[in-house]
């Protein structure tokens, strides 16, 4: 049995390593994607270009504008076009916000009165619009305290844990690690089985004395190993290149990744039973992966989704693995807080793997 499995594994590895293109797809493409995503995937809102209409033209109004542009949230050098045509500027994407300072701004302030300034933002991108409004009011509050000397007695002091610099790449890369393991292992195992079927060699394997369990293990273990190499590579790049902190335990991360592999390899096997061509297998994997990624909280927090979709996410194994990887890497989480995720992954892993095993054995017979 063990000899058979080893022989099958050797064949599988040979097949992967012989194919230059395959190698590129397995190892270079994911790392390329990781680096690209690391640079690109920033949800930070900054450099909001703002057109300023200062009708007061005083020292104080200029200082207000300066205080807004401090800290690279707003850039106040947008081209000035007549205020009446301000809407054209929004449509041409020349700026995303307009600040209108009324005449009498400095007068009112010097008499310790309140004064309204107009702030228009382009709401097309809802997220950056609301963050821009938040920044503007924060900067304004600081300006007020400085200029009027009046400050409320009660203050809110904030402290951020886990990612105090607010780097989105620290959050994205652990997510990508979870994605890579899912995509690569599910896709490769599905394709490997379907390819044999497509070329007709699966029948040849059937007539050999190889038993189904040996066949399944021989077709899954190589990809589990490749999956481990893959996430190690990704973690290496993330830590060396993007300087991502690793707060938790490596052993825990790899053991839970091993646990999660039952789910992904099971899914790959399942896909191989529902597709007849490699093209279909690829489409199906992609399809499954798309949904898994979207409902895993990778791009956007699950809490933002409607209630019905939130319940749906509980059926997505990647959701638990995503939380696990991010928790271990960023927060140093250990089993005392991760146990609900671990239990979920055990249940999913067992269920999916056994179901696919049975389906596969039936199809083979």
């Amino acid at each position: 049995m063990v000899r058979t499995i080893l022989a099958l594994m050797k064949k599988e590895f040979l097949q992967v390593f012989r194919d230059r293109n395959m190698l590129r797809m397995i190892f270079i493409m994911p790392i390329f994607q990781l680096i690209l995503l690391g640079y690109v995937a920033s949800t930070d809102v900054k450099l909001i270009s703002t057109a300023v209409y200062d009708h007061d033209r005083s020292e104080l109004s200029r200082e207000y504008v300066r205080s807004l542009s401090a800290g690279e949230y707003f850039i106040t050098d947008a081209p000035s076009i007549p205020l009446l045509e301000a809407e054209r500027g929004f449509k041409e994407n020349k700026y995303e916000a307009v600040l209108i300072i009324p005449d009498g701004f400095s007068n009112d302030l010097e008499q310790s009165k309140s004064v309204d300034v107009g702030f228009m933002v382009d709401g097309t991108n809802a997220n950056s619009a609301s963050i821009a409004l938040g920044y503007a009011s924060l900067m304004t509050r600081q300006f007020n305290e400085r200029v009027t000397g009046f400050s409320p007695p009660i203050k809110l002091t904030q402290r951020k844990l886990f990612n105090p610099e607010g780097e989105s790449v620290y959050y994205m890369v652990p997510g990508i690690v979870a994605l890579l393991l899912t995509m690569i292992t599910a896709m490769l195992s599905a394709m490997a089985i379907v390819r044999e079927r497509e070329i007709g060699t699966l029948e040849q394997l059937m007539v050999t004395p190889i038993r189904t369990p040996a066949l399944i293990l021989g077709k899954t273990i190589p990809f589990a190993l490749i999956g481990f190499v893959e996430i190690s590579l990704a973690l290496f790049v993330g830590i060396m290149w993007f300087k991502i902190p690793f707060a938790g335990s490596w052993v825990l991360l790899y053991s839970l990744a091993f646990l999660y592999l039952f789910t992904t390899l099971g899914t790959g096997m399942f896909i191989s039973t529902i597709s007849t061509t490699q093209q279909q297998a690829m489409f199906f994997t992609w399809f499954f992966a798309m949904f898994a990624i979207m409902t895993s909280g990778f791009f956007a927090p699950i809490a933002n989704m409607p209630k019905s979709i939130q319940y749906l996410t509980y059926l997505n194994p990647l959701r638990y693995f995503m939380t696990t990887v991010r928790g271990i890497m960023m927060k140093g989480a250990s089993l005392d807080v991760l146990y609900p995720e671990v239990i979920a992954m055990i249940i999913f892993g067992l269920a999916i793997f056994t179901f696919s095993w049975m389906r596969f054995s039936k199809r083979v017979k």
Binding site: L36, A41, V115, A126, N127
Partner: protein
């Protein structure tokens, strides 16, 4: 002309016969719109906030309920133990912990200095930023209500106005962009695969020995996919408008016209890929890597181009989706027309023409 029709007819039969692929081509865009429309939602709300109230006064309870009634914050599912706020965050039970130390009520009556503490889970930088700014607003409005009657806080106040998407729904931003992604996927991926399939099964040689020119083969093969892609686009737009309530402020005709140019660019990419590879599997992977990935990552669809490093910003000029996403957002959300979109339009046309020229050239070279 009738030769093209034969090739196109054959391709249509191919598409219709393969029910699974057809299902993918029609159903996937709708499902994707549905899932993406809900899943890519950066409107931060429902932030789980734990309140550790050591003051236990009417005021502290009122402050807490002001947070919970705002619509931004939710109570944690498990009531937090009054213990270690860091552990609450590490377990993920809450994203932020508001610590109200004893003395809030006294500070409010005597106007003495007092500090409220907010501990935020910074893991997701976006959520952390929103949490911070919402909390500031909550505290400021709480204090404002506590000021003596008639007292006016001196200083600048912002009167805000949001244009175009005044309810700040992020689905209105992401769903139109998704149309660009789906068009790219359907056009580039399916065309590259269909040509690669002819090569793989050896039927390309048969086609070539028949009295049709390579140009006719390309046009015939591509036409059904243009129709399919445009059908998908219309389906998704209808779905976006009726399901997600995305407004359509501009001209549908203008949008479809640009859609056609964009699809031409995408199809050219697909043909180009098919000349570079020999198997369907590789074609699919190449298509993913060179068309879908940049369209999602480098087009400004989710991630803003201006935040990227300079090299990637320059690369983004070569991504057709960059222009089409701006056009579709402008037309649908802002009612923009050619007078403001001409820049994007010019770039898109140039890209499409260049890609089409390269693709036909390479295809003929490969074949001749």
């Amino acid at each position: 002309m009738h030769k093209i029709r034969y090739i196109a007819g054959k391709e249509v039969r191919h598409i219709l016969r393969d029910s699974r692929s057809l299902m993918i081509a029609i159903l996937m865009p709708i499902l994707m719109t549905f899932v993406y429309g809900y899943a890519i939602n950066l409107d931060t709300k429902n932030i789980r906030l734990a309140v550790l109230d050591f003051d236990r006064s009417v005021d502290s309870r009122e402050l807490a309920s002001r947070f919970y009634n705002s619509g931004y914050f939710l109570k944690p599912q498990v009531p937090p133990a009054l213990s270690d706020p860091e552990k609450i965050l590490r377990s993920g039970q809450a994203h932020a912990v508001l610590v109200i130390r004893a003395g809030l009520a006294r500070a409010l009556t005597n106007f003495t200095d007092y500090e409220l503490g907010l501990l935020v889970d910074g893991a997701d930088a976006n959520v952390a930023a929103a949490t911070g700014s919402y909390s500031n607003i909550m505290v400021a409005s709480f204090l404002e209500d506590r000021m003596p009657y008639g007292f006016e806080v001196p200083g600048v106040r912002i009167s805000q106005q949001v244009l175009y998407n005044s309810n700040l729904e992020s689905s209105h931003f992401f769903v139109p962009g998704l149309i660009a992604i789906i068009l790219m996927m359907i056009s580039a991926m399916l065309t590259s695969v269909t040509i690669a399939r002819e090569k793989e099964t050896g039927t390309m040689e048969q086609l070539l020995t028949s009295p049709v020119t390579p140009r006719q083969i390309i046009i015939g093969k591509v036409l059904p996919y243009i129709a399919l892609a445009l059908l998908d686009a219309v389906l998704v737009i209808i779905f976006a408008m009726f399901h997600f309530g995305v407004p359509f402020a501009g001209s549908m005709l203008l949008l479809l016209f640009f859609g056609l140019i964009y699809v031409a660019a995408a199809l050219s990419l697909g043909i180009l890929i098919s000349t570079l590879v020999s198997t369907q599997q590789l074609a699919m992977m190449m298509a993913q890597l060179t068309t879908v990935l940049p369209s999602v990552m480098l087009s400004g669809y989710i991630f803003e181009i201006k935040n990227m490093p300079a090299v990637l910003r320059y690369v983004s000029y070569l991504v057709p989706a960059r222009y089409f996403i701006r056009i579709i957002r402008g037309v649908m959300l802002k009612g923009s027309d050619l007078s403001v979109l001409w820049g994007e339009a010019v770039f898109l046309v140039i890209l499409a023409v260049v890609l089409l020229a390269i693709a036909t050239k390479r295809f003929q070279l490969k074949i001749g």
